[in-house]
Amino acid sequence: MNFEGYRKYVFVLIITSVIFFTAFSISNYSNEKRIQNIQSIEDKIALDLLSSETQFNLLKELSCKTIDNSVLSQELNSIVEKLAYAEENLGTTDPEVIRLKKYYSVLEVKDYLLMQQVDQKCKRKSAFILYFYSNQGDCSDCKKEGYVLTDLREQYPDLRVYSFDYNLDFSIVKTLQVVFKLKNTLPAIIIGDETHYGFKSREKIEKLMPVLAKLKAEREKAQNTATSTATTTQKKK
């Protein structure tokens, strides 16, 4: 083969390498954007939490009705899916993913504590589930439990599911394990003061949490009232 022939091989190698480099750059850029997106949602949750805490501190002078119950639930829903996706794509050992998961765990615990205090103060009963899972391949039912909890959250928007990676090397998660005397049998869900190990179906959880049906009925009633009010107002016009 002559020099021209070799030159063509090198030229093609350069073009192919440039395409590969571009593809890797696009991939890295979009991953960075994802991390930034999760980070911004977490920052928003942190701000919302701070706002709720401040509201709570003002409660002595304000009515319980002023506490906004829906601030966090939607954000929590969206971030949990995004975190799972980032974990799947960037890997469970990615330092950024671990950092975001830790931050998320802190926010969840803060939200959990705040909501408990609000419940006590306002004499109401919110629906909480603390869910411990593992994605290290040692929990065959965790995926199924995840589907059930996501489905429940969609059905009952007032339900708060706080999910924690059992194996996350983070003091808050370890403290929760000690507080709830958790065994390493996953999936584990905590409803009220009771810990339930193993897979729990949607029906089973609904049975364990009668408050869900109550909350759903209340929400539907509130929605119906809002719809009828809007219709009446329109007619008056």
């Binding site: 190698l13 192919t16 395409i19 593809a23 991939s27 979009s30 589907y147 996501t150 179906s201």
Partner: protein, 410 residues
């Protein structure tokens, strides 16, 4: 960072993209040469003998011979030798219809394989140019004229035609039509690079010198047309391609018959490459040793690996969906686009780029074969289904190679 499990698919994608870009550049470099070659008019008509080996071809042999006799070529310069390789059907009786034709010679022998039939034909003729035509193929009337003009160059020792599918009707035949059109483009590019690795049974022409100096056809794992091409390349005998010489072949009509044919082809190719392995990555053999032969092997491996990769991920995905369905039932939630969940993994981006770049092969194949690049159902069917079919015979051929299994003719 790439996970370890993704390193192999990335390597295969790099190889595929490299090969396609190489072809693309070769194509742009040689466009003018190809155009000139197509518009060049033939000035001489050397004597040609076309050998038609037959084994149980009673249905197609008459039409094959008729197409040869209808060639737009001086009658006194063209002879046809039909060799019955011990057929067990009425092939020889069908052949006898041409017994009295002045251009036709009939030969009959005991069954010994296609290569023995061809060698008998070669030994019974002393004509300078020898062509071979499978008895399930038909030539266009100007095919021979288009081929012989390549022999004006004295360094050319063999010429391959553009093989097309005869009268495609079913989806499977249309898939093969697109595949054959791609073959026309690839063979043209390989011809430009002097890296042709097969002189196909349907109407390749050789100088007698090839057989005198290198010997006749060999059994060669039931792929004598690949072996002779590699033998020629190993001795630096030039093989050219005449993309304007159209030859039609009857494509397998069912998946099992296509599977069997392709297992034979790919097994034969792999075994022949093993036999001629000294040519691999050997700069003495130019683009053939450096690019086309190694890539042909890589493409077999990568197609099998990628098919396995896709199947494993597809099965995993489906199992997850089944578990989800069993756990929470059917979800009726609205599907909303969210850029966050768009798969932007490097593997996905590179697969997409490779697929897009690879589209120039079927479209340029269509241009060379039919004169236009319009999207057609052949290409659509090919893109939709070929990826599911090819891994079947590629896997079997690899299995045959690894476990030294022999593939059969029929």
């Amino acid at each position: 960072m790439i996970e370890v499990s993704q390193i192999i698919p990335h390597i295969f994608l790099f190889a595929a993209l490299y090969f396609q870009i190489f072809l693309l550049i070769t194509f742009f470099e040689s466009r003018e040469t190809i155009r000139k070659q197509a518009s060049h008019t033939n000035t001489c008509y050397p004597s040609v003998a076309v050998l038609v080996p037959c084994y149980n071809e009673e249905k197609t042999v008459a039409r094959t011979v008729e197409s040869l006799l209808a060639l737009d070529y001086p009658k006194d310069r063209l002879s046809v030798v039909i060799i019955d390789d011990g057929s067990t059907d009425r092939t020889f009786e069908t052949m006898r219809a041409f017994e009295q034709h002045p251009q036709v010679t009939l030969l009959q022998k005991e069954n010994g394989g296609k290569h023995t039939a061809l060698n008998l034909g070669i030994s019974r003729t002393n004509i300078e140019l020898i062509g071979c035509l499978d008895a399930d193929s038909f030539v266009a009337s100007d095919a021979l004229t288009e081929i012989v003009k390549c022999f004006e160059d004295k360094t050319v020792m063999a010429v391959t035609p553009a093989v097309k599918v005869w009268n495609p009707r079913t989806v499977l035949e249309h898939i093969q039509k697109a595949e054959y059109n791609m073959g026309i483009f690839l063979r043209k590019m390989f011809g430009v690079m002097n890296a042709i690795q097969v002189t196909p049974g349907p109407f390749s022409l050789f100088r007698r010198k090839v057989f005198n100096e290198l010997g006749g056809f060999k059994e060669a794992h039931n792929t004598e047309d690949m072996e002779i091409a590699l033998r020629m390349q190993s001795k630096h005998y030039r093989i050219e391609n005449a993309h304007t010489a159209h030859v039609y072949t009857v494509a397998p009509k069912t998946i099992p018959s296509l599977y069997k044919q392709r297992v034979r082809w790919v097994s034969g190719f792999l075994n022949n490459v093993v036999d001629y392995r000294f040519m691999l990555f050997n700069k003495e053999y130019g683009h053939l040793g450096a690019l086309t032969l190694p890539f042909a092997i890589v493409s077999v491996l990568s197609a099998v690996y990628m098919a396995g990769f896709v199947v494993v991920h597809l099965v995993k995905y489906l199992l997850e969906k089944i578990v989800k369905l069993q756990t929470v039932g059917i979800e009726w939630s609205n599907i909303q686009f969210n850029w966050f969940f768009l798969n932007t993994q490097s593997l996905m981006i590179l697969t997409f780029i490779t697929l897009v770049v690879s589209l120039f092969i079927p479209f340029n194949g269509k241009k060379l074969s039919e004169g236009n690049m319009r999207p057609s159902r052949d290409i659509l069917y090919f893109l939709l289904f070929y990826g599911f079919l090819a891994p079947l015979w590629l896997t079997k051929a690899l299995y045959n190679l690894v476990f030294s299994k022999k593939s059969s003719w029929r």
